[in-house]
Amino acid sequence: MKNAKSQPLITKSELSLLFGGFIFLSSCYFVNKSMKNTESVKKEIVLKNEKYKTKKESKKTDRNIAQSLEFENKNSNSNDPLSTLKIAETCIESKACDLPNNDPRAYSLAAYSNLASEIDANRFFITTNWNSEREVDFKRFFKYSNGFVKEAALRTVLALKDRELLAFTNELAINIIHDHNAQMMDLTMEFIDRIQDTNVKDQIENEWIQAMITGSPNKSEALAKYSHELINEQSIPKFKKALNKLPKGSPERTHLESSVREFEMTQAGG
């Protein structure tokens, strides 16, 4: 049998070559995407400005456009790879970018969607240049009400190391588990699976149960469906207590009841 210590998984030279290849391939993708996005957003802002110049708009809108252009100019001169992301955020606030505006929600949905795309496109840069300042800064994305943005933010933090990821436990509890969007369950479970600390797990379970009881009914059903993954010897009393607080006949109660019973049968040996 070979000694594991004498046979490293990968040598330094292999690692260098691998890293080089990785950087090259990812650069091809991100540079292309980033350039495309930066150009399109810049163009959108300029076009919108031209359009707005011909209109009589409120002072507030003019101020917003001016701010966004100032912001955009400032950022376009810098080498900050996240400038496109910041511009996408500005578009949300200013409402001045040339995005669809044919129905009342079209602009905001498109602006949020752009921001989500930018977060995804910059995921590699963000996660490989992580520091405490970025951590604090990045939390703001979880506060957006829009599900696309939250989902992209969650995908990004899931690419971090466990230690860095844990700094987002509160965001997971408050902004994801308590959010009415039921489409993020797989990502939520991926996060929870990586939590080892029992106190943190306990906190998550409590928020989970609270969201099942007083949250959106559609989300409550989704949480109940996944509850079997959180039920264990320590948590079972809490989930049993929650069961009685769910409306009789509701889908969430059906799912939770089944999971509680299955766990009890497993404990009892069938």
């Binding site: 998984l9 990968i10 292999e14 691998l18 290849g21 990785f22 391939l25 990812s26 091809c28 993708y29 409120s58 949300i92 505006n101 129905d103 009342p104 929600r105 602009y107 905001s108 949905l109 498109a110 969607s113 989500a116 795309s117 995804d120 496109a121 590699f124 009400s145 599900g147 696309f148 989902e151 992209a152 995908r155 009415h180 489409q183 007083t214 949250g215 959106s216 009914p217 559609n218 989300k219 059903e221 469906k225 079997h228 409306p247 009789k248 006949g249 509701s250 889908p251 059906t254 799912h255 009841e257 089944s258 999971s259 019973r261 299955e262 049968m265 497993t266 009892a268 040996g269 069938g270």
Partner: protein, 449 residues
């Protein structure tokens, strides 16, 4: 080159191209997934357009569960409108009340009243309270060039995953989905300058509508008559003030509503007189309703759905045989849970009267559940208890890896637990073997040969 090195390089390559398959804007075409499109009139219950519900949710399921809330296009229009509106008005109020009381248990009666009225006004504004319509085909209202789905006009471009999953076609889930958005705005409104206080309910309703319609950033839009979408706010105000729907509500008592049960895609009887809805399995019907474990053969191509009447996942062909993994009876409509390879779902199988047109006794199907004579192996690490009756007194524990011959199979009502009767040594008893639904756990307990 070293094998592991190749693998790592490949991994790096894949990591450098992030997946973009996540839920975002989906540029669906106008009238996407719309068959049998028909028009309508801008009147309550009959707004244009309407397309078949079948791509999203089973029409038989809808008919069996939501019959009072289907506008009958073939009936006398005026009479049908009164009937429909009385039922729909009651349903919207009950759903809205259920929602806000659930989210905010301490909510006051006054707040509930204003919240309900705001929701009624939105259903008027969005769809003239139209959802299901039945002529020769069961249809669902599709507005805004087919992008808006149902009562609350859930847009398939921005809410594609939910629309595709059948949540927009399911009347209660459609309402809940929109209520999520309105409630978020309702809660936010008092913190804004345009709403004087949390008890200024009328103003709060209007602010929440502006946000519902234009996004949270536009919550004070109703204060700006010059806004390009100000007309939506004034239209909402008109509806809130005039309550035009009330003119169509007759004095006849509407059907009692059990919202929790109506939201449950697996429950059967949703009568409010019974607070514990009838479990969908083991119903008292004729022997032609095949039992769990029996084999059926499809007599026509039948859609396979995630839940009884829910999202379509595949279509299985006429002539194929399957083992029944679960069965469900929803107000007379029969469903069987069946599986082929990794596709598992429910197929509709008619009613007591039409059952023989859909399925008959099958043969030569792959067995996913034990039947009499099957050989099973205990999979649980510490073994499984052998009990005198299902869930009864323990006789002994049968160790992991033990092979047993099945004497009979039993499924409990309610929780859908599978028990197999076996003989172990000189003792005969029942072995718990997992649940069939809503989560299938049999493969954690036994394997079948």
């Amino acid at each position: 080159m070293d094998n592991k090195y190749v693998k790592l390089l490949l991994l790096a390559f894949l990591l450098s191209f992030p997946s973009e398959s996540f839920a975002q804007f989906v540029n669906t075409s106008n009238y996407w997934n719309c068959s049998n499109r028909t028009g309508g009139t801008w009147t309550f219950g009959h707004a244009p357009s309407a397309c078949s519900v079948n791509p999203f949710i089973g029409s038989d399921y809808v008919k069996s569960k939501f019959s009072p809330y289907i506008f009958d296009d073939s009936a006398n229009r005026a009479g049908e409108r009164e009937r429909y509106m009385s039922e729909m008005h009651n349903l919207v109020i009950k759903a809205s009340e259920y929602y806000i009381k659930r989210r905010k248990p301490s909510v006051s009666a006054t707040e509930v009243k204003y919240f309900n009225e705001a929701i009624l006004a939105i259903t008027h504004q969005e769809s003239f309270m139209t959802h299901y319509r039945d002529g020769s085909i069961l249809r669902m209202m599709r507005g805004d060039f087919g992008h808006g789905h149902g009562l609350m006009q859930i847009d398939d471009r921005w809410h594609f995953a939910n629309v595709k999953d059948g949540n927009a076609a399911h009347l209660i889930k459609n309402l809940f989905y929109a209520l999520d958005i309105y409630y978020e705005a309702w809660q936010l409104a008092p913190s804004k300058n345009c709403v004087p206080s949390s008890t200024a309910y009328y103003t709060r309703s209007r602010a929440a509508y502006s946000a519902y319609n234009g996004g949270l950033d536009d919550i004070c839009r109703f204060r700006n008559p010059g806004h390009s979408f100000a007309r939506n706010d004034s239209n909402f105000k008109d509806k809130l003030d005039t309550k035009a729907w009330s003119r169509y509500i007759n004095a006849v008592s509407p059907t009692p509503v059990n919202i929790a049960c109506l939201a449950n895609t697996t429950s059967a009887n949703c009568s409010t007189t019974n607070p514990n809805p009838t479990p969908p399995n083991e119903p008292p019907v004729s022997t032609s309703f095949f039992a769990v474990g029996e084999l059926i053969q499809l007599l026509k191509n039948i859609n396979v759905r995630q839940t009884p009447g829910g999202k379509r996942v595949a279509t299985f062909k006429a002539g194929e045989s399957f083992q029944v993994l679960d069965r469900s009876l929803t107000n007379g409509a029969r469903y069987y849970l069946i599986q082929k390879n990794n596709i598992k779902g429910y197929v509709y199988a008619g009613t007591e009267a039409t059952h023989s047109q859909w399925v008959k006794e099958g043969r030569d199907a792959i067995l996913y559940l034990p039947v009499i004579g099957s050989e099973i192996t205990v999979l649980t690490r510490s073994g499984t208890n052998l009990r005198i009756t299902p869930g009864g007194t323990r006789l002994t524990t049968i160790p992991n890896g033990t092979r047993l011959s099945v004497l009979s199979v039993q499924v409990t009502s309610g929780l859908k637990e599978l028990y197999v009767k076996v003989k172990y040594g000189n003792q005969t008893g029942y072995l718990y073997s997992g649940t069939l639904a809503p989560r299938y756990t049999v493969s954690n307990w036994i394997s079948i040969r």
